[in-house]
């Protein structure tokens, strides 16, 4: 039996007056004694562990986590909502600070995922429902209809060239070019399987066409395919849902919606990528001409306390902007590049050196100051009004292309997912970690782990290290055959329970279930009553149910009603 009277941090260290501090220490001691007298032995329970992990999100974070888990010999499933894994990294051209090609380092990992027999990919799928608890989650996965049989499709791409619906915006290239209604997002997609977009396909919409079925040599096209639901058991779940750039419609001053030549940094990645809409030549989206003056605007929506954007720093923008500026100056030395920044933040190995190179070696004009207005001109130029805070002067730059470093935000699917997982989130929809310093890859909900930007903005190296860390945590969990559970759990006094479900409704873990039980009543009759029972393996011991229970049938081990009241009494005693 143990109780602690906190007389150091909460007494002697704060109260200067010895007499009052001593008096308080006595009271705190008295309260602890009152509580310990009512202590009951706590016994931890045990629960089995299902030796399979689920990774939600198939970007670099999810891929790395899955591969590491598989490496340790455990089965792991990746659920990816897009038709292919790869995530944002697949869209990126080059990576900082080494400037190697993103696809070159990512695609081998994607292929490894598809070939590792321990890894199973549910692409074009979403998590629908999560039940259970650490070591024993039951997850319902919705496999959306592709209208293409994954097992038959060879990925030859014949259908994607024959489809008559040509003007579908290509989301992989962020709408900078078009694709067909049946498509493979990019050449190295995994799984390399075509997908029919039901929003554009004439056959699915109107029942007319059927061209793709005719050209498909493998006979893989299936217009009657339905969404499929799969239920699977997992011991651990890793969240790797990633991010998106924010929408810029609230930032009218930057003219994003006014001119095609005001682009986001991610769009610039595609414009510079060899597999992108321009085949790797940097051209203005409006007229296809070479831009000669390019203005980069940093912190668009980041560190924004006005309410339009995000209050946090998106962390990666300083570095990728330096990368973009450097690449442009390298490839097109006749181009003037201006970067407007609030601060340049370059913490990371070789990061500051990288930024210094951009400034010193590549002659990128870094100007401390914020852009006030971006206005397209009739002559196709874009007028950028800005202030140079160091020189204290107003600048007017006539640019050909403006690149906005839009803030990043967690993917919209994260919030409903957090609810399903009962994992907590902060006000910005980033998942919270169990401890900001000491348990950074675990969610406070046992058995839920965090990988990548879903936990907070980070770059690729950091994402990969966190992904591996999460994998290590998962492996540590899965190697156990049984888990000891928290002994401070709620329990129900069935004789007093009304079966009213009040506790069930407040339990964040679904730990409370009801059953009809036979009771021998004092008048020697037998009665069937609906009573609650707590699954000690699931209960985390928050105590919400104990307060919700109208009859006081629920109590919490280690923090029982009588114990807390004894403390109250002891404290208030004269």
């Amino acid at each position: 039996m143990l109780e602690v009277a906190n007389i150091r941090e909460q007494c002697s260290w704060i109260h200067k007056d010895k007499a009052t501090a001593t008096e308080k220490a006595i009271i705190l001691g008295r309260a602890a004694i009152a509580k310990v007298q009512l202590n009951a032995p706590l016994t931890a329970g045990e629960s089995p562990v299902v030796k399979r992990a689920l990774v939600i999100g198939g970007g670099i974070a999810g891929i790395q986590t899955a591969l590491d888990i598989a490496e340790a010999g455990f089965d792991v499933d990746i659920v990816e909502k897009q038709p292919t894994i790869g995530g944002k990294m697949a869209q990126i051209d080059k990576t900082f600070p080494t400037l190697d090609c993103a696809a070159c380092i990512l695609t081998p990992k994607m292929v490894e995922c598809s070939q590792n027999e321990k890894v199973h990919i549910y692409a074009y799928s979403e998590v629908e429902e999560v039940k259970g608890f650490v070591g024993n989650f039951t997850v319902k996965i919705k496999k959306k209809a592709r209208y293409v049989d994954e097992n038959k499709c060879t990925g030859c791409g014949d259908c994607t060239t024959k489809c008559p619906m040509k003007n579908v915006p290509n989301e992989f290239n962020l709408g900078l070019d078009t694709r067909r209604a049946v498509y493979i997002p990019f050449a190295q997609a995994v799984p390399k399987v075509a997908t029919i977009d039901p929003n554009y396909c004439n056959m699915l919409k109107n029942g007319k066409c059927g061209l793709c079925a005719k050209v498909c040599g493998a006979g893989a096209i299936d217009y009657k395919q339905k969404d499929q639901y799969i239920e699977e058991q997992y011991g651990a779940i890793v969240v790797a849902t990633g991010y998106n750039p924010i929408k810029l419609d609230k930032f009218e001053e930057f003219g994003y919606s006014l001119s095609k030549d005001v682009v986001t940094s991610l769009e610039l990645e595609r414009l510079m990528n060899a597999a992108g809409p321009t085949g790797g030549t940097l051209l203005r989206p409006s007229d296809g001409k070479h831009p000669h003056t390019i203005v980069f605007v940093q912190c668009v929506g980041s560190r924004d306390t006005s309410g339009c954007g995000k209050p946090y720093c998106s962390k990666i923008c300083c570095m990728y902007t330096a990368k973009h500026a450097m690449l442009i100056r390298e490839k097109y030395p006749d181009t003037e590049v201006y970067v407007f920044y609030i601060d340049v933040r370059t913490p990371g190995k070789n990061f500051d050196e990288f930024y210094r190179r951009a400034v010193e070696q590549y002659g990128v004009h870094y100007i401390k100051g914020m852009v006030g207005k971006v206005a397209p001109r009739a002559n196709g130029k874009i007028m950028v009004q800005a202030s140079d805070l160091l020189m204290d002067e107003q600048l007017h730059i006539e640019a050909d292309l403006v690149v906005l470093a839009a803030a990043i935000e967690p993917d919209k699917s994260a919030r409903p997912l957090a609810t399903m997982l009962t994992a907590s989130m902060d006000t910005n929809d980033f998942f919270t970690e169990a401890h900001p310093k000491l348990r950074p890859v675990e969610s406070p909900t046992a058995g839920i782990f965090l990988s990548g930007v879903c936990q907070g903005p980070k770059d690729i190296p950091e994402t990969v290290s966190q992904a591996s860390a999460a994998a290590a945590k998962v492996i540590g969990l899965l190697v156990k055959d049984k888990l000891t559970t928290n002994p401070c759990v709620a329990h129900c006094n069935e004789l007093m329970c009304n079966g009213c479900s009040s506790c069930e409704r407040v339990c964040p873990y679904g730990a409370i279930t009801y059953s009809d039980k036979e009771f021998r009543m004092p008048d020697r009759t037998t009665q069937l009553r609906r009573v609650a029972s707590v699954n000690p393996a699931v209960c985390q011991g928050c105590g919400a149910c104990t307060v919700a229970c109208p009859s006081g049938a629920m109590d919490l081990n280690g923090f029982s009603n009588s114990q807390i009241m004894a403390e109250v009494d002891a404290i208030c005693q004269k």
């Binding site: 007093m496 009304n498 079966g499 009213c500 109208p550 006081g552 049938a553 009588s562």
Partner: protein
């Protein structure tokens, strides 16, 4: 109305739909109606009543009645159907074992209300639409029904049934009631005035528990006030704190579950 109800109850007993009927039974005087269970047509003829004094909300009895074998027929006034649903969401009885008939209600009155008007020595009461004639040993007195309505009926929130298997008579509408007028008045007071008001009201409490036991939301197997381990068990309020405490805790327990049936104010 009473005739129609008896007739329908007899039919349902006859065809085996239900085994028992939960209704009201006349008493010694014209107004002291008691909830009762009837098992045969003869019992119904002999004792079943439905009049302006049948205020009791029968829904809470379903907890006990559905524990028995067979199905029970219950008559529910509009306000009772709200409690009925609340009990149902709390799994307090088995819906399958209940046949509910919604009956209209024009507001109830009670012996207490008449007595509050100074009536004593009641020997009989006649109802005729909106007027009520009370015969007493001291002579007859006439009242408008609206003048002797129970307090809760003055602020009736709904004449619409929200749960039933069948209805006898017309269903009404949800009303625009004035049930929060008093609250508004209290909220306008200073804390000192409010405290004085509540002390005066609560000091009337004799902790007889009638409010709790009559309340359809208070259906715990064991109330915290009866459980010595809860730390707040009381039988009779020992001092002003306990008087306050009982009412605060009870109010808190039924918060969000109260259906404004007003049984407590009647008790």
């Amino acid at each position: 109305m009473q005739g129609m109800m008896i007739a329908r109850a007899k039919e349902l007993l006859q065809d085996g739909t239900v085994n028992r009927v939960l209704g009201w039974q006349a008493g010694e005087f014209a107004y002291d109606i008691t909830p009762a269970v009837f098992e045969t047509a003869e019992e119904l003829d002999a004792g079943f009543v439905y009049n302006a004094f049948c205020g009791n909300n029968l829904s809470k009895y379903l907890i006990k009645e559905t524990k028995k074998d067979g199905k029970v027929l219950v008559f529910l006034k509009p306000c009772d159907t709200y409690s009925f649903n609340q009990l149902l969401t709390e799994h307090r009885f088995d819906r399958e074992k209940v046949y509910a008939i919604g009956i209209p209600c024009e507001g109830k009155t009670s012996g207490e209300m008449l007595k509050a008007k100074g009536v004593s020595g009641i020997t009989g009461i006649d109802e005729d639409g909106d007027s009520i004639t009370v015969h007493t040993v001291y002579g007859d007195q006439g009242f408008n029904r609206s003048d002797v309505l129970e307090e809760r009926c003055l602020t009736c929130k709904s004449k619409k049934h929200v749960a039933y298997d069948e209805l006898i008579g017309e269903d009404g509408e949800v009303l625009d009631s004035h049930r929060f007028d008093m609250v508004a008045k209290l909220e306008a007071m200073t804390p000192d005035e409010r405290f004085a008001f509540w002390r005066s009201q609560l000091s009337k409490c004799i902790r007889c528990n009638a409010c709790r036991n009559v309340c359809p939301a208070c259906s715990c197997e064991k109330c915290v006030f009866d459980n010595p381990e809860s730390g707040i068990a009381q039988k009779a309020a020992a001092d002003s704190f306990e008087e306050n405490m009982f009412q605060i805790i009870r109010a808190f327990h039924v918060a969000g579950r109260c259906t404004d049936c007003g049984e407590c104010s009647r008790a």
